[in-house]
Amino acid sequence: MTSSTIIDLIRQTAAGLRLLLALTVVLGVLYPVAVWALAQPLGDRAAGQPLREDGRIVGSRLLGQQFDGDRWFQGRPSANAYDSLASGPSNLGPSNLDLLTAIAERRTDVAAREGVDPARVPADALTASGSGLDPHISADYARLQAPRVARENDLPLSLVEQFIAANTDHRPLGFLGEDGVNVVALNLDVDRARPATHPVDDGGD
């Protein structure tokens, strides 16, 4: 590069710097703040759709949670144990032996937990999601878990099945994406309906 090219480049960089700072005011401050202002009438819808119990936030409709114990519907396997500060998939490849082993183990575990034939365990119960925070499971997986959840919570099976239907997010316009049962909202309904006399068993630990 000749020295005149270098001088021209420095001059252009300085112009670019000044223009960029001016654009930052418009694009980096005014624009997101304007969108935020217009989001205010939407309330919770633009704030992650929190679920509340006695005024306390106990979840988000959009974020799956880790549920310990047999009284809860179980979500999909998560590569990060539903840590919302570390979203992401397993990134295990299509012929990865560790993943094949994990799938076989999950199939055995789920079948034993629900007392069903291993062949009946659906794919979403065996595979980790793309976000690690998937709030949904398939209707098949929800129905597979319904008898256990009803039994563990002393609730009639028909009521639990009603909850499943009520918490199914149907695909928008009937064709966009897939139907899914929202596990977090479903578990909240189950928890609220649970007889007060039932001994608290948080499983796990």
């Binding site: 654009l23 969108v35 633009a46 979840g59 919302s84 990134n91 295990l92 490849g93 979403d124 966009l176």
Partner: protein, 554 residues
């Protein structure tokens, strides 16, 4: 009645294509009017004053290129400073400054419209860096790509002219008149669909006693320009698989529409500016053929579940979200790699061998189906020049395109353009594979591990930004070499395109005769596809054989 998955998937593709067919024409014509308008708005005049630039001065190719380089240098400096010093900014979420080489890699990545991300947004970036740094580059890096495409089109439309327009005016107008209004509208649609826009994080205890954070952020505003500008950098690590970025099947199809919108519309702008819309249709036809073939392969592989893992689980759902399923995950993957977007709504590392191979090839085609904003148009015009050159060799005539002679000088620029990216991809991959430490960085063993490295350099050098995410890229070696691939993969082609544009603008126009190869016909679109496929095949088949092909055959 509940629609079957296959019917719903096909209908989604149909609605997407119909929406693009409907909107690309008025948008493309509007962009053509914006870049040829004579007057400046008050906001634009204020921006020119701030930059100290003269909006009515025309620039030579050399000056235009130096402005591109200067603007990139300024962008990298500002974005590095924001990341390293984020502790001094408000809304920093108490996060520490980003480490030097990660800040460098990220700055280069966003300035080059790549949006490769060696960090997880939710645990690395404060809100201030996201909105005033990363999102601002999402706008202006897209505007730079479109400006360069417009400059190349001016090379064809101008006669005996020494200049290509004014870079600053092109960038400001495209930002203020095209990208900002579109992003604002798109952000409102995303908000209505449930995408988050807050400035707070809220920690809570979940139903089963686990602590979780309701991670906030100005997500909707960033998501809109992330897709519209074919940037692709996620607010969160999981990108568009994250329910806060992409909560429903509706927002998902809308995002695919956004990331294809401007690249498709620019083919109309091309036809408009050339004064013959058929040229735009021929180019769009070639792009559509490549997109359709890639979509067919990927959808077939994902929906039928052609992999060991998919057979074991019963469906190819590893790395996919339940609310999307296989059909629209494949549709997203093909759109994001056929453009330079690189956003993902599913793990590409966990796609079936044929599906993952197809999206890798999409990037290796040079991202021209339909390509990044601007880079898709200049990329396919380069291939069109190569096509008339090959045709000219067959019949022994001097090739010409759109009334301009393609001589030795033009072919030199084209050849260097076509060599630049493959050299970066293949030498980068070879250098990484030759290092012992790379074995520890792989997320998967065997051929798939090789694919992770090949994918990384193909993504970086083509400014895509998606990843086979199992590869750990936080070592200085990967941060620096991938940043180099992104920077050279962006700027070398741009400088060559501007030099080519200058050499074309200086020429007069050759009259079209009976011997001129018509370049607005379906026949030409077919030849164009053939040349693109042969070029890519000759360049990359050996490398592909070691990765996805070996895995698919295993």
């Amino acid at each position: 009645m509940v629609m079957s998955e296959n019917a719903a998937g096909l209908l989604s593709i149909g609605v997407l294509v119909a929406a693009l067919a409907l909107i690309h024409a008025p948008l493309g014509d509007y962009i053509a009017r914006v870049v040829t308008a004579r007057s400046h708005s008050r906001v634009e005049r204020a921006l020119y004053r701030a930059g100290g630039v003269h909006p009515d001065a025309e620039q030579s190719p050399r000056a235009y290129a130096l402005s591109v380089l200067g603007f990139a240098a300024a962008g990298i400096a500002v974005l590095m400073a924001l990341q390293i010093g984020q502790g001094l900014l408000p809304l920093d979420r108490d996060l520490p400054g980003v480490p030097f080489w990660m800040a460098f890699n990220t700055a280069v990545s966003f300035v080059t419209n790549t949006n490769w991300q060696p960090y997880a947004g939710e645990s690395t970036m404060g809100f201030a860096v996201q909105m005033t740094g990363l999102a601002v580059q999402n706008f202006v890096s897209a505007a730079v790509g479109i400006a360069v495409a417009i400059a190349l089109i001016r090379g064809f439309t101008r006669e005996r002219h020494g200049s290509l327009g004014n870079f600053w005016v092109d960038v400001v107008r495209i930002t203020v008149r095209v990208l900002l209004p579109l992003a604002f509208l798109a952000a409102l649609v995303l908000l209505a669909g449930g995408v988050v826009q807050t400035f707070t994080d809220t920690a809570f205890t979940g139903l089963s006693g686990h602590r979780q954070v309701l991670t906030g952020g100005p997500v909707a505003s960033q998501e809109a320009i992330k897709q519209l500008g074919t940037n692709g950098g996620g607010f969160f690590n999981a990108n568009s698989a994250h329910p806060f970025e992409n909560p429903t099947g509706f927002t998902n199809l809308f995002q695919i529409f956004l990331l294809l919108l401007i690249p498709v519309a620019l083919t109309r702008t091309l036809g408009s500016l050339l004064g013959d819309r058929r040229h735009g249709y021929a180019v769009l036809g070639a792009m559509t053929i490549l997109w359709a073939v890639s979509l067919a392969v990927t959808t077939w592989a994902e929906v039928a579940g052609h992999s060991q893992v998919a057979r074991a689980a019963g469906a190819a759902m590893e790395g996919k979200e339940a609310r999307f399923g296989e059909w629209v995950s494949a549709l997203f993957a093909v759109g994001t790699t056929g453009t330079s977007t690189g956003a993902v709504n599913a793990s590409h590392d966990s796609l079936t061998p044929a599906g993952g191979g197809a999206v890798l090839v999409n990037m290796m085609l040079g991202e021209i189906a339909p390509g990044g904003v601007g880079s898709g148009v200049y990329g396919i015009l380069i291939m069109a020049i190569l096509t008339v050159f090959v045709a000219g060799l067959m019949v022994g005539r001097t090739p010409e395109l759109l009334g301009k002679k393609i001589g030795a000088r033009q072919m030199t620029y084209v050849a260097l353009y076509l060599l630049a990216t493959p050299v970066l991809v293949l030498t980068g991959t070879a250098a990484a594979i030759a290092r012992d430490s790379t074995l520890d960085a792989l997320g998967n063993p065997g051929g798939h591990g090789f694919s992770e490295v090949l994918y990384a350099y193909a993504s970086a050098a083509n400014n895509n930004g998606s990843a086979f995410g199992g590869l750990t890229v936080t070592s200085d070696f990967f941060q620096i070499t991938l940043a180099g691939a992104m920077l050279l993969g962006r700027l070398i082609p741009i400088v060559l395109v501007l030099l080519l544009a200058g050499s074309l603008a200086r020429q007069g126009r050759v009259p079209s005769t009976a011997g001129t190869l018509p370049t607005h016909t379906p026949l030409f679109a077919g030849m164009l596809v053939g040349v693109i496929v042969i070029m890519t095949g000759l360049t990359y088949v050996p490398a592909l054989a070691l990765g996805p092909i070996a895995e698919a055959l295993a």
